[in-house]
Amino acid sequence: MESTQVVIVGGGATGAGVLWDLTLRGIPAMLLEQADIANGATGRCHGLLHSGGRYVVKDLETARDCLAENRIVKTIAAHCVEDIGGLFVQLPEDDPSFFEKWWSAAQQAGIPSKRLGAEEARALEPNLAENILGTFTCPDAHVDVFRLVLANVEASLQRGAQFRSYAQLIAIDVHNGRVRGVTYRDTRSGEEHQVACEMVVNAAGGWAQNVAALAGVDAPICCDKGTLLVLNHRLASRVVNRCRVPGDADILVPAGPVSLLGTSSMVVPGPDGLTASAEEIDALVKMGGLMIPSLAGTRILRTFSGVRALYAPQSAASGGRGVSRSFALLDHEQHDGVAGFLSIVGGKLTTYRRMAEAVADRVAEKLGVQTECGTRTTPLRSALKPAERVRAERLLPRAVLDKLECRRGPDVAAIVAAIEARPELAEQLCECEMVTRAEVEFVLGTSAPAAAETIADVGRRTRLGFGPCQGTYCGYRTMLAGFEMHRWSSEQAASEFSNYLAERWKGQSFVQEGQQLEQLGLSRELYDAQPATCAQRGTNDGK
């Protein structure tokens, strides 16, 4: 029987943020995630670190919160953020009074912004449509969602916290109106484990209602689905927003070498079994093309869908963008007489830390811990020492090393040592994202913090397979690397790869024509002849 003081359910940004906050306050905690990090909304969004511009007209309060958190995240998680800035562009078909309202609201909210004419805007971003009327700049940024969640988890693990992936919560033990433990099942081995604890924090996002039900309480949410497209290359060097009342396909976010376009909004019954229809995708391309015309001809690498879990206290008749995006902390001791159970629902990625702080404050209060929140100023990771960097420069080309350092920071020292001992580890398993074999072995190693269990996990930790080939080549090489380091037997390795491919193929299955269809065809021809060696896993498309 394992034990801790607080069990957190849900390995998204909120759950990971709570883990870190509690850890900094010295409260022992364990994070349970049913799949891998950022499996829910966190891993299926733009990765946009809002400056607040998107909310500034309708919800000044939220906008101010976003701006504050935007600055904080850029400080504490600098290695996760591409601080590229953003634009709010005005198209001829958009309401001109909204444009003016935006400007004055932005001033009120304190968002640093400049007003630019069409010429200047297109000088900054040549791919913008010729008919845009003007633009505002703002401090939007892109945050690598997986890196962010991982950073919170790894920092916590270093200080003694615990994390279990592929751990599905199956029971919450409530005794005399008080939580005293949970049971989870390891979804890969089928084994069940019990954990004794004093409190449970339900940060399960789209599954929050399911988790709450295990404690016999209610966490009413409304699931609003959004679909995004991953485009093969960087169409803009800044975030491009459409300056209008939030609607579909009005955000394009550069994310590393690719661009993310989204999103849509429709209420769905739950977070599982999400699909993107051809019409949805066409609509996204068409709308996005109004801002950036060359979108129409750009290769789409994959599509994915996620749900925004919005707090909907009354019966969720209205849904979607109308529901507030601020969060709700439900204290079930007060609401429902179940002590030691908190639910945190709603919110958005940009304010994850603030949400986590609210939760941790309440937890600390209940546990009688006096320590204040430390997450506002404590960096999530230390930097790589300059001497180590120099040592690394002898072995790896600069571009590869820059990416590696961004992803792994001080761990580069260990990775470089591995390459020095075995030069073949410098091989790039993923050439699109420049991921070396040494890095893959590092994240697959059982002693790694938050170690990868599957090839897709490796992808989330390194961006392997996120490029044009979508894992066709690098997934295979990763399978062999995992086999050679004895992480998987040959049978397991083959099965891992089969599952990985199935997931990768599903995300490309929308394509009716074009380059990705050919890439998919190539992939299928190479591998499809293989007899299925393992049952398909889940139905959710991953990023």
Binding site: E125, P126, N127, N232, H233, R234, A236, S237, P254, G256, P257, S294, G297, T298, R299, P397, R398, A399, D402, K403, E431, C432, M434, G467, P468, C469, T472, Y473, Q515, E518, Q519, L522
Partner: protein, 401 residues
């Protein structure tokens, strides 16, 4: 960020370009066109520092482009990356000169006898080797007064003739042979003397110089082009550049871009032009037999023009001439590349296939329309190597050159 134009999205990472790349085959450190082109291009667009000295090792042979089953403009991406690639001073100095064969030609041909003399002196070559990394292992081609002039005949059909730096400053006699060949077939050629085509500039990373050169040529030719005149080249690289290179460089200036398209549509390789006339029955077919075994090497920039091998077809019409194609890859010279000390070995290893093949074929003469292919073949085999037009003219005149 530049508007998209290289079909970056077409890349399926199949690596066929690597299989076709002559440098990849001989140098284990060379990352290959797939990496230097589309892979790094995605990262360049991301703003990552992707510069690498390996960019300099691209021959610019375009074999990757031709092999690609999905129309990715691989070599164009690499050429653009070269333009942003910084070099250490000595190499930069050397490449500055190599980018300007027109200027070099003008200076050396003020007193060619003296220039040629100095360029052969061992101590001079030693200094060049130490100070500018120019390999002493190769002979420079001889320079001579630039005496090439337009045709004086006022025949019915007029064309423009773009000679290029080699015919202007090294072999004006060959340039005159071009004019002779054309005149014999009822065509009068007007010389375009606006300087270098821009291939050496681009190959050495000087994009804006190449752009200026292109603009100059277009300014001089556009009026005549608009009246329907054709432009002929006898050098494969100049030919490829006129048919395509300008367009890529000038994409951002709409007026120049359309002028470049006009030029491209009216450019002909000399053999291509003659062959078309032959098809219409307008080519002088009175050729004397030549009993000789000739090996023909198709320059990479000829292949890149996508017109087949017109020189070989023309030569095969000469009775008694036995023409075999060498077909053993790139010669490795690639203009100024083979003169660079640090690249000399790569250059020779690339060309080894041709050298070996010629040892087997044992021809009496080798024919190739690219001046630097000619230099490399002579350097590697010692076989007499000529421009195929010389053989054709010989057949017309019934006498050896």
């Amino acid at each position: 960020m530049r508007p998209d134009s290289f079909e970056l999205d077409n890349c399926l990472k199949c690596s066929v370009c690597n299989a076709a790349c002559p440098v990849y085959a001989v140098h284990p450190g060379y990352p290959g066109p797939k990496h230097l082109g589309p892979e790094l291009e995605r990262l360049r667009l991301e703003g990552i520092a992707t510069d690498t000295q390996w960019l300099e090792y691209c021959l610019g042979c375009h074999r990757c482009d031709l092999a690609c089953p999905h129309q990715v403009g691989v070599s164009e991406m690499i050429a653009r990356a070269k333009a942003h690639h910084p070099k250490p001073f000595t190499r930069a100095l050397r490449d500055w000169w190599f980018a300007r064969p027109g200027l070099l030609g003008k200076l050396t041909t003020i007193v060619p006898f003296v220039s040629n003399f100095f360029l052969r002196l061992k101590p001079v070559r030693w200094i060049m080797s130490k100070s500018m990394h120019i390999t002493p292992k190769r002979r420079f081609p001889a320079y001579t007064r630039p005496t090439l002039r337009s045709s004086t005949n006022n025949r019915a059909e007029r064309v423009l003739f773009f000679p290029g730096c080699f015919l202007t400053y090294n072999r004006p006699d060959l340039g005159r042979k071009v004019l002779e060949l054309l005149e014999r077939n009822g065509v009068a050629a007007e010389l375009v003397s606006t300087g270098c085509c821009g291939v050496p500039a681009q190959a050495n990373g000087e994009e804006s110089l190449a752009r200026d050169q292109a603009a100059r040529h277009l300014a001089a030719m556009d009026e005549k082009l608009q009246s329907g005149m054709s432009v002929l080249t006898a050098c494969a690289s100049c030919g490829y550049q006129l048919k395509s290179g300008f367009g890529g460089l000038l994409a951002e200036d709409a007026k120049l871009a359309s002028a470049a398209q006009r030029l491209a549509a009216q450019s002909y390789d000399l053999a291509e032009f003659l062959l078309e006339r032959a098809d219409k029955g307008k080519l002088d077919s009175a050729v004397h037999p030549i009993g000789r075994r000739v090996a023909y090497h198709a320059p990479c920039h000829s292949n890149a023009q996508g017109i087949g091998h017109p020189w070989m077809q023309l030569l095969r019409q000469i009775p008694g001439l036995k023409v075999e194609e060498v077909d053993a890859g790139c010669c490795g010279m690639s203009g100024t590349y083979g003169f660079k000390q640090e690249k000399y070995d790569v250059s020779m290893r690339v060309g080894q296939g041709i050298i070996d093949r010629l040892h087997i074929l044992q021809p009496e003469q080798v024919a190739t329309e690219c001046a630097t292919c000619q230099m490399q073949i002579e350097h590697g085999t010692g076989l007499p190597t000529v421009h195929p037009l010389e053989i054709l003219l010989e057949a017309y005149n019934g006498e050896a050159i």
